[in-house]
């Protein structure tokens, strides 16, 4: 399979998107906060935005080359584009939407389990149904690249999990270069083989979701991946560990080496909570106050003043935790990763 090759510079209002990236027959997720230039990357690939210079090619096909003055029109690029909010034609039925670019609808409608909606108008559909129609429409012309702009953003939280699993299976089955744009690292990690973190139009880090979680390149990537980032000053301690005196007060112990200004990265799911400091192997016990509790299915996000923990709702009920309660947050020294500032 021939890769999608991107190496271009696209000026936006306040910064330039500068991207060099090869996407094989895989799902690649571009993650970044809103306004980081994610959608502009997709628009450039589809031919809807024109880079100032660079190259966009798929295998032997050159879609854009500023030096050779090649700029293939959007209608000739064979790109399947699932737009944010889906951009379904409101005046056409589901079937007419899917066959707008030619091809037949029945097999795709069957595959996406929306054949019963063929005669419905987009305005009558739920968010999940509209997403399926948008995907069917994008696939109807037999595209060579699939672009998905925030495909999960318009879905309500309780259908999100199942829709994500189905989209994951579909993307594997298609085996096309698929570029997915999202502001949600969880969506990216669940759907993509590789993830690229985009900030102000530049890639901060590229890797598998596990790579990015395990060794984030900088605090920005760590925060985007959902980590607590705590800054302080690191120094070697007598027991062979690194102690980080946090600006906020407590000292955190980490197994990794570090010195000077340092950020401590701790994932919420590595933090456990207790009423009293437990007598366990974890080295870090921080006494803190609960600010808020946010349920997420069978887990809950517990925001403390210093950091955020993620625990099961079962534990939450057993400990009868409430906002305002004093708790002890514990995590192991091996779960505290260090990012030394240079």
């Amino acid at each position: 399979m021939v890769p999608l090759r991107l190496d271009f510079s696209l000026p936006l209002r306040t910064f330039d998107v500068e991207l060099a990236l090869d996407v094989e027959a895989e799902t690649f997720a571009l993650v970044g906060p809103s306004g980081s230039g994610k959608t502009s990357v997709l628009r450039a690939i589809a031919g809807l935005a024109k880079p100032a210079r660079g190259l966009i090619s798929l295998g032997e096909c050159i879609w854009f080359d500023s030096e050779r003055r090649v700029d293939v029109r959007p209608e000739d690029r064979f790109v399947g584009y699932v737009f944010q909010e889906y951009a379904l034609f409101p005046h056409l039925t589901v079937e007419q939407n899917v066959t707008f670019g030619g091809g037949r609808a029945d097999r795709l409608l069957w595959r996406l389990r929306i054949e019963h909606l063929a005669k419905a108008k987009p305005g009558e559909l739920s968010g999940g149904e509209r997403q399926r129609v948008a995907i069917a429409r994008a696939l109807a012309r037999g595209p060579r690249v699939l672009l998905l702009d925030e495909p999960m953003a318009a879905l309500d939280p309780h259908t999100r999990g199942s829709v994500r699993a189905e989209l994951h299976d579909l993307l594997r089955e298609l085996a096309l270069p698929a570029l997915l744009v999202t502001h949600d690292f969880e969506d990216a990690a669940a759907l993509a083989d590789r993830v690229g973190v985009l900030s102000d139009g530049k890639l901060r880090q590229v890797g598998t979701p596990a790579d990015l979680l395990g060794s984030p390149a900088d605090p920005f990537v760590a925060r985007l991946a959902g980590a607590n980032v705590l800054s302080g000053v690191a120094a070697r301690t007598a027991n062979g560990l690194t102690g980080v005196l946090l600006d906020a007060g407590p000292t955190i112990f980490a197994a990794e080496e570090g010195s000077g200004r340092t950020d401590v990265v701790v994932y919420p799911w590595d933090v456990s909570l207790a009423r009293e400091a437990p007598d366990d192997s974890a080295l870090n016990h921080v006494r803190d106050e609960i600010v808020s509790l946010t349920p997420l299915g069978n887990r809950a996000r517990v925001r403390l003043k210093l950091l955020t923990a993620e625990v099961t709702t079962a534990s939450l009920e057993r400990l009868e935790l409430q906002p305002g309660d004093q708790v002890v947050a514990s995590f192991k020294a091996t779960q505290a990763r260090l990012l030394t500032r240079t």
Partner: protein
């Protein structure tokens, strides 16, 4: 204080409505309906009706044919001088129709801007039916083009982008997506422009004259008859009110904006 304001609102509304409605009522009460129908059967009226229908139809077709693509370009393309173009489109709206008539004479008249060229081709425009068509088109086109620009501007650009990525050429995007989505707004603008064109008076009388059966449209016939035979003038006026009311009713009844309302009722966009 609050009661006084309520009373003021009620009185002001009553005065405004009475002022607008009374003259319309007067036209129908001054002369018995039988006499109105009789007046409509007169040669002057029939000639004027034919001239009006013919010239308005041709002018309106031309306005739709040229105005729609022009509105599309002005609405969706970004080019230098676009603001100026927008202002120019609306200029005829604020011109007195008499000025429009003079301007058309200055363009197409014997000594006008294009006078020599037209003369060489053996074409004479002023005081012919072609002049009526030009006058009507000139005066009504801003009403249509302005409405059409607003309608095209309101279309969600992502839909047009989506159509492109699905293999549609710009012409197909226009025909299959833009036009159907704009149909409601274009229809409304078209009806408004048609009504304005049918009522055209000032530019026509200066540029085309008022020759019965040739250039005398219904409004010109009213003017010609109001000293000679006031009942005929009243009858034609009544006819206008009926036409105007029908156009308005058609606009209100037709579900012009159903696409737009369905589309907007869904999720609010995020970034």
């Amino acid at each position: 204080m609050r009661a006084a304001f309520s009373a003021f609102l009620a009185v002001a509304t009553a005065v405004a409505l009475a002022f607008l409605v009374l003259p319309v009522v007067a036209i129908f009460t001054r002369v018995p309906p039988g006499d109105l129908l009789h007046a409509l059967g007169q040669d002057v009226t029939r000639d004027a009706l034919l001239v009006s229908l013919k010239t308005s139809a041709i002018a309106h077709a031309a306005v739709l044919l040229f105005g729609t693509p022009a509105a599309w370009v002005i609405a969706r393309k970004r080019f230098p001088g676009r603001g100026l173009v927008l202002a120019l489109v609306e200029l005829p709206l604020v011109l007195p129709p008499a000025v429009a008539g003079i301007a058309l004479l200055a363009t197409f008249g014997r000594v006008g801007l294009l006078g020599n060229e037209l003369d060489a081709l053996g074409i004479q425009i002023p005081f012919t039916q072609a002049a009526v068509v030009l006058a009507v088109a000139f005066v009504e086109s801003p009403f249509y083009v302005r409405g059409a620009i607003a309608t095209f501007e309101a279309i969600d650009g992502t839909l047009l982008d989506a159509a492109r990525t699905l293999g549609a050429t710009p012409a197909r995007v226009f025909a299959r997506v833009a036009l159907p989505l704009a149909a409601g707004g274009l229809g409304a603008a078209s009806a408004l422009a048609l009504a304005r064109g049918l009522g055209e008076f000032g530019a026509t009388i200066i540029f085309a004259g008022s020759l019965q059966g040739v250039t005398q449209t219904l409004p010109l016939a009213i003017y010609a008859q109001f000293e000679a035979d006031f009942d005929t003038a009243l009858a034609i006026s009544a006819l206008f009110i009926v036409i105007g009311a029908l156009l308005l009713v058609a606009l209100k009844l037709y579900p012009w904006f159903r696409f737009v309302s369905i589309f907007r009722s869904r999720f609010a966009p995020s970034t």
